[in-house]
């Protein structure tokens, strides 16, 4: 496999490490393996969900794909184009086609810019529109995400959370990208607003043929929104499958735990949480074996010594676990 193979995005062996500096001379004493060998394909026009608990490297993966964080190793194709080796110029081109929506609707908008500037800036930076045309484009974009053009000259702090997230989406859409990384776009929103945004994203996908990498930790949201789901644990993808497949038939113990931990909105069925022991372990220390083994009830010697690879156990269903052999 040398190219994206018809996928909009193909990632292979992606690693992103952050150095840990300690001691008198701030020497590098170790690495935080935030993303540690991820393989991922995102089909054109589809949504791939990425779930996992806090700190498992979801955000880092997303940002690395946009080269906002330098990758340590691995390759990624965006439509037959290598992302990590593109030069500056080419990268600017690529960035017109890949965009990101952030989790925090407050932090991701520059508080000192008007909506018009925020949404118009990408166009300006790429010299795509000027003056009246720019304004018209911005108005169109705002309408597209359901905001009235009357808001053009307002500042982010004058909007509610949901509206701010819409502005962020409008900004991402400005360059007419083909692929958008949605980094927990609804986690910070109120319950009643959350579905508005999800619907909007779905509508946009239908209308514009976008592909999404949808990062979240709320499994219910992901199931609802994504065709395919990847479960991440400590920088590695431990299970990947079509969403129905995954939810009905989770294989990896971590996926099972995760699913069982989701509270069920029904007072009559209490969740029988297979409470995983302990917290997510530290990624900085040297460890061997399966990343999940310290918390896994099924762990055996092999799990502690060797790191399992993703294997296809069913059509489109990949798992990295020795116990599924």
């Amino acid at each position: 496999m040398a190219k994206a193979d018809g996928h909009i995005l193909r990632v292979q062996g992606l690693k992103t490490y952050f150095p840990i500096r300690r001691g008198v001379f701030s020497r590098i004493r170790g690495w935080v393996r935030a993303v540690d060998g991820v393989d991922l394909d995102i089909p054109r026009g589809q949504t791939v969900g990425l779930v996992g608990e806090s700190g498992c490297g979801k955000t880092t993966l997303g940002r690395t794909l946009l080269r906002l964080i330098p990758a340590t190793a691995g390759t990624a194709w965006f439509e037959d184009e290598l992302i990590f080796s593109a030069n500056r110029r080419r990268m600017r081109q690529l960035r017109r086609q890949m965009q990101i929506i952030f989790q925090d609707p407050v932090g991701s908008l520059n508080p000192r810019m008007t909506v018009q500037t925020i949404v118009g800036e990408p166009l300006k930076v790429h010299g795509l529109a000027h003056g009246r045309a720019l304004r018209q484009r911005v108005v169109n974009l705002l309408e597209q995400v359901g905001l009235s053009p009357g808001y053009l000259n307002r500042y982010p702090h004058e909007f509610s959370g949901g509206q701010r997230q819409r502005i962020g989406i409008a900004r991402a859409l400005a360059l007419e990208p083909k692929f958008i990384i949605c980094d927990e776009p609804v986690s910070a929103l109120d319950v009643s607003i959350q579905s508005q945004i999800l619907n909007l994203l779905a509508d946009l996908q239908d209308a514009l043929g976008l592909s999404y990498l949808f990062i979240a930790h709320n499994l219910a949201v992901v199931e609802h929104f994504c065709g395919e789901v990847a479960v991440m644990y400590l920088g590695q993808i431990v299970e990947r499958a079509g969403s129905e497949d995954l939810y009905r038939n989770p294989v990896h113990p971590y996926t099972k735990t995760l699913l069982s931990a989701v509270p069920i909105p029904d007072p009559r069925t209490k969740t029988a949480c297979q409470a995983p022991v302990g917290d997510v372990s530290d990624t900085s220390g040297p460890f061997t074996g399966c990343p999940f083994h310290p918390r896994c009830s099924l762990a055996q010697d092999q799990c502690r010594q060797e790191c399992p690879q993703l294997r296809e156990i069913g059509p489109g269903h990949f798992v990295a676990c020795w116990r599924t052999e």
Binding site: D190, A261, A275
Partner: protein, 344 residues
């Protein structure tokens, strides 16, 4: 008043530079030993403020409780002196907060902070207090608690910190525990652990629990009674089963509809339109009417605010559109205890 903790018509206001914010507007609820009251509602609807009002922790001078009563074991907490209320606070009514990251003092060890609470309310020697602290940490499932008492908050993970908070709150065996979004900042797996823990502890000690959250699923898992708040007011108040079986208020209904549920795959969710109102400029009449799918055009909804009525036994509601609302008697709190549900 034979209830353990009951609040009636609580009103709390904040003076801000942009005007007066009524964060809690005539809220009433009650909770009894061994029972859990869940309070749901979206951000800014006054959940935290009502809890803080009970604790007497409203930031002064900008905030003020302007009306209502808080009955605890037969006395009105709002009429007590600061000294008397301190006796109760942390001792008989304890509270844990939303942010496990910042709610612990970063410059003292966790043991120190727990011991402080213990020594304040129990006449114990320092040594014994430390032993008790270790014990309470063990109780909430902190591994190697004897060493962790000497840890600083930053040396613990978020779930660990929240457990420390709970241990601290439970160290004096309070009669009522108010948990303000104890799991919002945590991961699903950790959240499950914490909820499990709360449920266990509550059953063990017959403690009354007030759980504040905006996650209906959490409520379903743990609460007996639910109060749904919208824009500073309670709009629906009933037992958890009643609520989940048949939500009556259009806001509650909307919430349920927009809730993505595992296993129900729909391309589009039903969303409640519009946004949460600004507390500085609440809409007139029913505060939900601009977003209400039922009757934005109704004159009465737009001008008169519906009060709570006992629409059926154990079910209190504030909505003109609900069937039978007109004929029901006004009521703040369901007088009839909601049906018991066996608790796992």
């Amino acid at each position: 008043m034979n209830d353990l903790l009951q609040i009636r018509g609580l009103c709390t206001e904040f003076r801000t530079e942009d005007g007066l914010v009524r964060a809690v507007d005539g809220v009433s609820w009650q909770v009894n030993p061994g029972r859990t009251l869940g309070i749901v509602g979206e951000s800014g609807c006054g959940k935290s403020v009502s809890a803080l009002s009970v604790m007497g922790l409203i930031p002064k001078p900008s905030g003020e409780i302007v009306g209502g009563q808080v009955w605890f074991k037969g006395q009105d907490l709002l009429k007590l002196t600061e000294r008397q209320i301190r006796e109760i606070r942390g001792n008989e009514i304890a509270m844990i907060f939303q942010e496990p990251m910042t709610s612990l003092n970063p410059v003292f060890t966790v043991g120190n902070q727990i011991v402080e609470a213990i020594k304040l309310h129990q006449k114990l020697r320092t040594r014994d207090a430390w032993d008790l602290a270790v014990e309470s940490l063990q109780r909430v499932g902190v591994p190697s608690a004897a060493e962790r008492v000497y840890a600083y908050p930053h040396q613990l993970s978020g779930g660990m910190r929240q457990r420390v908070m709970i241990a601290m709150a439970l160290s004096c065996h309070p009669a009522v525990l108010i948990a303000d979004e104890p799991t919002t900042a945590l991961d699903v797996t950790i959240q499950a652990q914490i909820l499990e823990l709360l449920r266990r502890l509550q059953a063990g000690e017959r403690m009354a629990l007030v759980l504040i959250t905006h996650d209906l699923a959490v409520i379903a898992q743990i609460a007996h009674t639910v109060a749904v708040m919208y824009a500073s007011r309670i709009v629906e108040y009933t037992s958890v089963e009643a609520l989940f079986d048949q939500p009556l208020h259009p806001y509650t209904q909307g919430l349920f509809r927009s809730l993505p549920r595992l296993g129900q795959k729909k391309r589009r969710l039903d969303a409640i339109g519009g946004t949460v109102p600004n507390p500085l400029a609440f809409p007139s009449g029913c505060k939900f009417h601009p977003r209400c799918p039922l009757g934005c055009d109704d004159k009465r909804c737009q001008s008169v605010e519906p009060n709570l009525r006992l629409i059926r036994p154990g079910h209190v509601l504030a909505c003109f559109k609900a069937a039978g609302y007109e004929d029901s008697p006004p009521c703040d709190i369901p007088t009839q205890a909601p049906t018991e549900v066996s608790n796992g």
